[in-house]
Symmetry: C2
DNA sequence: AGAAGTATCTCAAACGTTTCCGTTAATAAA
DNA sequence: TTTATTAACGGAAACGTTTGAGATACTTCT
């Protein structure tokens, strides 16, 4: 690899001058700057990221902490999409992406935060299903810029999908379609689940819909089997709801199968509502009525905000940014 | 951050001794080694990855080059799963994962290979839908250890799914079920597509199945819309096949919808076969008959082999490792 | 006892940058 | 002409490691 020294030797100037020329410092003449830049290009020079990082304490590396308890990791379409756009946006600004987790290195266990320190990442984005782990707290309380996705911590910038109003929109639609007997299979306890539940309650109240305890089930996100069981349970009740809200689109498939196995059909006998707007949901027939999360915007906003926190620590301030999704009308809700 | 110097000061030995103690060199007494390791732990020491990399030219970072022309990136379940297990295996050995691509940095365009050099990754794993790009060639011809997935280059280690025998198994199954009139919607031209086609032909020949040109269509991987159109085309033909092989499970959904829209049902009127064994395929009803690629093994094998190439450049040799998948019987193929 | 070997540790250079400070020469101000 | 100012560049230390070559003391062999 060609280094600054090679360029300096070739051009008969000092290493310092080359460095300054390439980094746009003012104390180098236009003529030599141009010459140095040109030969740097000719010689195929690229700065050594390690050496630079060692001096500047800036790696231009962003740590991503994506953990879901189900262990689905990137298989989770929401995460995958967010990461995809996060990556694209970050790369535009010259940052690379490294996965961060807790692990063992050199026989010694390293927490996620220690891992970040070890790798000297400039910033961290956290998107987990569980934000209550010690690993998350350590990172939150550390001194590395952090952006969280779908969870709000004090004094940390957060990008959140508007789960509350998303759920409101879905419920309002169902009510508009004439549904009054509505069941809701929630996802597991989390900030997201709470927000959606809040939106559910709020809309029910405003539309005068009764929330029956036996129709309010706690299930799992992204767990079709679990949703299958819970849907079966609903179908065995003495009275059937006319519409079931599923934890998410993926889990909804389990619900749909339970309904089909029960000899009922969607949406004629029973209506179904999802959440997320994953690609598959629109390949089913009938297409799932759902709420599409704007994952590209969530990811790119997270990247931009994180980089802003890194590069302008004084002028930027922590904030909570809500990204709107979009209601997506499928055919899984019957108009009564 | 606490450095070697801090430990050396605290313990009254030289920095060199601390370094050697921590790295398990032989020329340091057991007593002092133990003492140094202990205080290092107490002080919360972690090596500075940049400094270490600068000296040793080893970053313990692995570059992943995951490109698909559809731009689905990690959304592609095959990639996501492979990456997941690759990452897990790599982390076990102390390696981290960085995404590598071509991009602009500091106003200058950087090829993927240059990007690798810039970041000094120790090794690269390539999994693309298109292996014929200049970016891939540059990496292949470079001097960084490389492992490719599902594509074979001379003198480079490759991990390949056994696409040929997988397809054979599927076709044999269909024939065993009594099918003779079989259509195949292929994926786009690629090593994978060729292997599967080869397996298709081979099995057809061995089982005495006629391959009709009008039933051999070239489509797209992971493109349900495209598959929908091509399936429609098949259904409009003067004679219907009794079984259709789809490019992959995801694309198969498009095919299933086309069949349903055509007023036919699966598997009663027409049978369908997928490929990949993605989660969704087993949530459909009927469950898709398909061939599950062993993504966990592909990913972990790729990681192990790559690390082996890095750490034992002399003893390891390039090889082609075939990872078997598994036939998965669903209900989408009718027994005639 | 002298030589040779071994165990343990230190010195110091090196990896490729960045950056503060100093130096020189040229220009502007007095 | 002298002094102050500025522009352009170089020297050198520093970031935190690793590592081969010495240095010292101790043991072992002949």
């Amino acid at each position: 690899m060609v280094s600054l020294k090679d360029i300096s030797a070739r051009c008969g100037v000092s290493v310092a001058t080359v460095s300054k020329a390439l980094n746009g410092h003012k104390d180098v003449s236009e003529a030599t700057r141009e010459r140095l830049i040109r030969t740097a290009r000719e010689m195929g020079y690229f700065p050594n990221a390690q050496a630079r990082a060692l001096k500047t304490n800036r790696t231009y590396n962003l740590g991503v902490m994506f953990l879901d308890e189900a262990g689905r990791g990137l298989t989770h379409e929401f995460f995958a999409k967010v990461l995809n756009s996060f990556k694209t946006e970050a790369e535009l600004a010259g940052y690379d992406i490294t996965f961060i987790s807790n692990k063992d290195i050199g026989g010694r266990h390293m927490s996620t935060y220690e891992h970040c320190k070890y790798r000297s990442v400039d910033g961290i984005v956290i998107a987990c299903t569980d934000f209550t782990t010690p690993d998350v707290f350590e990172v939150i309380n550390g001194d590395i810029p952090v952006v969280t996705i779908d969870h709000i911590f004090d004094c940390r910038t957060a990008i959140v999908s508007n789960n509350e109003s998303g759920m409101e929109k879905l419920l309002n639609y169902a009510v508009d379609c004439g549904h009054k007997k509505i069941a809701y299979i929630q996802g597991k306890k989390s900030a997201v689940a709470e927000k959606r539940l809040a939106g559910f309650y709020k809309a029910c109240v405003s539309r005068g819909i009764e929330v029956r305890p036996e129709w309010l089930l706690v299930g799992d996100y992204c767990n079709p089997d679990n949703t299958y069981q819970l849907t079966k349970k609903l179908l065995k009740g003495r009275e059937l709801p006319t519409c079931i809200f599923m934890p998410d689109d993926y889990a909804a498939i389990g619900g749909l199968n339970a309904i089909k196995d029960g000899g009922l059909s969607v949406p004629d006998d029973i209506s179904v509502v999802g959440y997320d707007g994953i690609a598959f949901s629109q390949l089913l027939s009938p297409r799932l009525t759902t709420y599409t999360q704007d994952t590209p915007r969530i990811g790119s906003t997270a990247a931009r905000k994180l980089i802003s926190l890194i590069e302008n620590p004084q002028t930027t301030f922590t904030e909570v940014i809500t990204v709107d999704g979009q209601f997506l009308e499928g055919g899984s809700v019957k108009k009564l």
